[in-house]
């Protein structure tokens, strides 16, 4: 257990640190908790906003105001495309590492996690399309 003197020294030292200061370093740290980003709803990601709006409009047969179901189906479709790209990246990493069977267990785990997201997206899309 730390002595009182050590505790005071630790607290004083901690006050000197305020974490990363540069924008680049803060940006890197922001990504530390991010694995594949699939837990973030695709509809809230600005990178996909335009594609979702365009696809929802297509599903609403060009109507200016896309229906709620068209938007839901579009979001799920974009989610599916995103998941497939991530899966391809995981396979790419496996091949880059020499496609050794020893790396396959890791790949299997990652693919199993992706599969759950994919199943949900497929189900969301199917339901939304039927309600169109």
């Amino acid at each position: 257990m730390a002595s009182d003197r050590q505790t005071i020294a630790n607290r004083n030292n901690a006050k000197k640190s305020t974490g990363p200061r540069s924008e680049a370093a803060r940006g890197r740290l922001r990504l530390h908790a991010l694995r594949h980003g699939l837990a973030v709803a695709v509809g809230t990601d600005p990178a996909f906003r335009d594609d979702i709006a365009k696809l929802a409009k297509m599903l609403s047969h060009g109507e200016q105001q896309a229906s709620e179901f068209a938007r839901e189906a579009a979001e799920a479709e974009i989610d599916l495309l995103r998941i497939r790209k991530i899966r391809a990246l995981q396979f790419e990493a496996y091949f880059t590492n020499g496609a050794a069977p020893s790396h396959l267990a890791e790949l299997n785990d990652k693919l199993a996690k992706l599969d759950r997201y994919e199943r949900r997206a497929l189900s969301r899309r199917k339901n939304a399309l039927r309600d169109l």
Partner: protein, 201 residues
């Protein structure tokens, strides 16, 4: 996606939709031409008439593609373990006596193994020699399956899951396309699938 004139006459999704889909998610040495060939084969079987049909066409294509990818990996895994088994058995082919086996292992076994993997004639010769020692091809393959069992099982389960999803997408396409639905009702799904499976695998 690029189009050839004959393919355009079969099916042409809106450019805006193609832009949203982006480039197909290919891996390693997979070729865009092969993917597109699969896509258009699926499209000619499904005959999509609207954006929903296009989405389901893409689904069926992607599931077929994923199955193809997994089968290639599975074949590579089996070959890896077959090679491992053969590597362990090769010293049996050395001249009798401890010195012969050791010398063989040091100087020639690696070359023979490499040759076994790529040269069908050497492979046949070594397989015949190993069979004479009681290790035929089937037993080597069985040992390879046992060693890679966990990985092979995971791949097989994924292939089965992709196949189910592909069939679901096909049925869903039938829900949206009366003509396809009639064909699905008249023919076994395998027949419809057979129209594009060859292009994919």
């Amino acid at each position: 996606m690029s189009h050839t004139p004959s393919e355009i006459s079969v099916y042409k999704p809106a450019n805006e939709f193609i832009q949203i889909l982006g480039k197909p998610a290919l891996v390693g040495s997979e070729k865009l031409e092969d993917y597109e060939r699969t896509f258009y084969s699926v499209a000619s079987a499904i005959e999509p008439t609207d954006v929903i049909g296009c989405m389901l066409t893409k689904d069926v294509t992607d599931w077929s593609w994923e199955m193809r990818r997994e089968r290639i990996i599975k074949a590579a895994i089996i070959k890896h373990y077959q090679k491992e088994v053969v590597a362990e058995l090769l010293p049996l082919l050395a001249t009798p006596g401890q010195l012969g086996a050791t010398t063989y292992r040091i100087f020639q076994a690696d070359d023979d193994l490499a040759d076994w993997a790529i040269n069908p004639e050497t492979r046949a010769e070594i397989n015949a020699a190993l069979a004479a020692k009681g290790h035929n091809e089937s037993s080597i393959l069985a040992q390879a399956y046992m060693r890679g069992g966990t990985q092979i099982d995971a791949i097989d389960r994924r292939i089965a899951s992709y196949e189910r999803r592909r069939n679901t997408a096909l049925k869903e396409a039938g829900y949206w396309n009366e003509r396809l639905l009639r064909r699905l009702e008249q023919a076994a799904p395998e027949v419809i699938e057979g129209e594009f499976t060859e292009a994919a695998e």
